[in-house]
Subunit: 244 residues, 2 copies
C-alpha cells in the first residue's frame, strides 16, 4: 500500500532533510519511526525534495510503502507518538501505487522571513535578523522580474551541474507586518539554494547595494559566480507542495 | 558607575535566569561577558527577578556596577558581540547609585501564548501546544477575577514559604489571533509559578473542567495543593518591567 503524508518540521536541530551518514536528518528520524511501525521492516520515504540544514517545512510531502495496509489515521497517531517534538505528521492518505511525491510535483511554494526591526533573540532560528531598513517598494518591483520562465543557473549552487536550469515562477509576493518581511515564491520547481539566492539579491537591491537591472543581467550570463549573497537558511520555509 | 540594562532572551537552552552551579543560566552567561569587559574584575548583575527554565524575556531589566565609567553604547556593543545569539542587550543607561533593579520594580507584565489550532512543531518552544478548543469568552470572565489585590498562596509553588502572598493584579487581557491565545497579566509582582498557575486554571476553566467559582475558592483556602495544573514554561514571556 502506498501512502502520502504531509508533515511539518523545525529544521533548527537537523542537518537538512536528506539522509546522510553520521548526522541527524529529518528523513532518517521519520524512517526509523516508520520502520518500527512496519514491524521493523525498513521503510524508505520519498519526499517532494530535500530542504537544507536549518530550513523549516510547513507542509512537506513524502510517499512511502508499507507491507500491510494499516489505516492512515493509525499510522499518523503512532508516528506522532514516536517522533520528536520538532517533527509533526499532519495528514496521511492512501494514494495510487504509481504516485511519486517528487516526480509528480507540479508546483511548490516557499516563503522567506526577514526582520528589519530590532534584533530578536527569540526568533533567531526562524526569521533572518537583518535589523536594518530595506526599500520594500524597490524589492516589490525586483521580485516581479523573477516571474515567468527563466534560466536560473546564476541562482543555484555553483557546483550543481545539471542539464536543465529552466524553471518557471508562477507567483511572487512581498508583504510587511510589524517589521517582518515575508517573501513568497510559487514555482514549478526550485534549484538548490535558488530561493536563498533570489532572496539574497532582493536584499542587496532593497539595501541599494545592487541595481534592479542586475536580475536580468544574471539571467543572461548564467553564472553563479557573478551573483550575490546567499541568504541564511533559517528564514526559509517550504510552505506547500502541489500535485495534479 | 551603576548601569541599568534592558535585554531579551530565548530561554529554551538555559536552566532559567538565576545562576546556579554546574548548569547554563542567563545570568552566568551575561556576567561572564561583562566581567571580560570590566578588565576581568567580576561583575554581578541584579535582575528585576528570576525567570524559570525555558521561560523567555522580551524586556528583562538588570543593574550592575563597573569600576570605570564606560559609555553605555560601548558596553552594549561589546556585550552583544560576546553574547550568544539567543541573548540580546537592547539598551544600557546610567542610573543613580541607589537604583535597584529588583527592589525598585513597581509593576511587571507577563504574557503567555497558547495554540488552540493544529500542533505546530516550529513553535513548540515558544507557544504552548494545547491544540484543542477553549471557551475564550469564559476565560475572559475568569481572568477578571484575578484583578485587584488578593492573597495568591494557592497560586504559587507549594514549597515556597513566604511572609507575604499578597499581590495586586492591575490589568489582564486575553486576545485571539489565528488560533493563538495571548494572555496578559500586569501586576505589582508575581510569586514563583504564579503566572503559570493562573494560566493553568484558566485552561481548566476554558476546557470546562473547572468552574468559574473555583478562583474565588482558591483565594479563600490559600493552599496550592487544592489548586490546578501548572502551565508549561515555554509559552511564558516576561514582557516588561516598570520603575517609577
Amino acid at each position: 500500500m502506498r501512502y502520502l503524508m504531509t508533515f511539518s518540521y523545525d529544521g533548527t536541530n537537523y542537518n537538512g532533510y536528506q539522509k546522510q551518514p553520521k548526522t541527524k536528518t529529518i528523513q532518517e528520524v521519520i524512517e526509523k519511526s516508520l520502520t518500527k511501525i512496519n514491524s521493523n521492516n525498513q521503510v524508505i520515504i520519498h519526499a517532494s525534495g530535500r530542504t537544507d540544514s536549518k530550513v523549516h517545512a510547513v507542509n512537506q510531502k513524502a510517499h512511502f510503502d508499507l507491507n500491510s495496509d494499516i489505516e492512515p489515521y493509525k499510522i499518523k497517531k503512532s508516528l506522532n507518538k514516536l517522533l520528536p517534538d520538532d517533527i509533526y505528521i499532519k495528514t496521511i492518505e492512501i494514494v495510487d501505487s504509481n504516485f511519486h511525491a517528487r516526480f509528480d510535483v507540479i508546483k511548490k511554494e516557499y516563503i522567506y522571513k526577514i526582520n528589519i526591526g530590532e534584533y530578536n533573540p527569540i526568533d533567531v532560528n526562524y526569521i533572518l535578523q537583518y535589523n536594518k531598513s530595506l526599500d520594500i517598494e524597490l524589492m516589490k518591483k525586483a521580485i516581479k522580474l523573477f516571474e515567468g520562465e527563466h534560466n536560473f543557473k546564476s541562482f543555484t549552487k555553483t557546483s550543481d551541474e545539471k542539464n536543465d536550469y529552466i524553471r518557471t515562477i508562477y507567483k511572487t509576493d512581498i508583504s510587511l507586518e510589524k517589521d517582518i518581511i515575508t517573501i513568497t515564491f510559487v514555482g514549478s520547481g526550485f534549484l538548490r539554494y535558488m530561493v536563498r539566492n533570489m532572496v539574497g539579491i532582493l536584499i542587496e537591491i532593497g539595501s541599494l547595494k545592487k541595481n534592479l537591472t542586475e536580475i536580468s543581467k544574471l539571467f543572461e550570463i548564467k553564472d553563479r559566480r557573478e551573483s550575490g549573497i546567499t541568504a541564511k537558511p533559517n528564514g526559509l520555509y517550504l510552505k506547500n507542495v502541489y500535485y495534479e
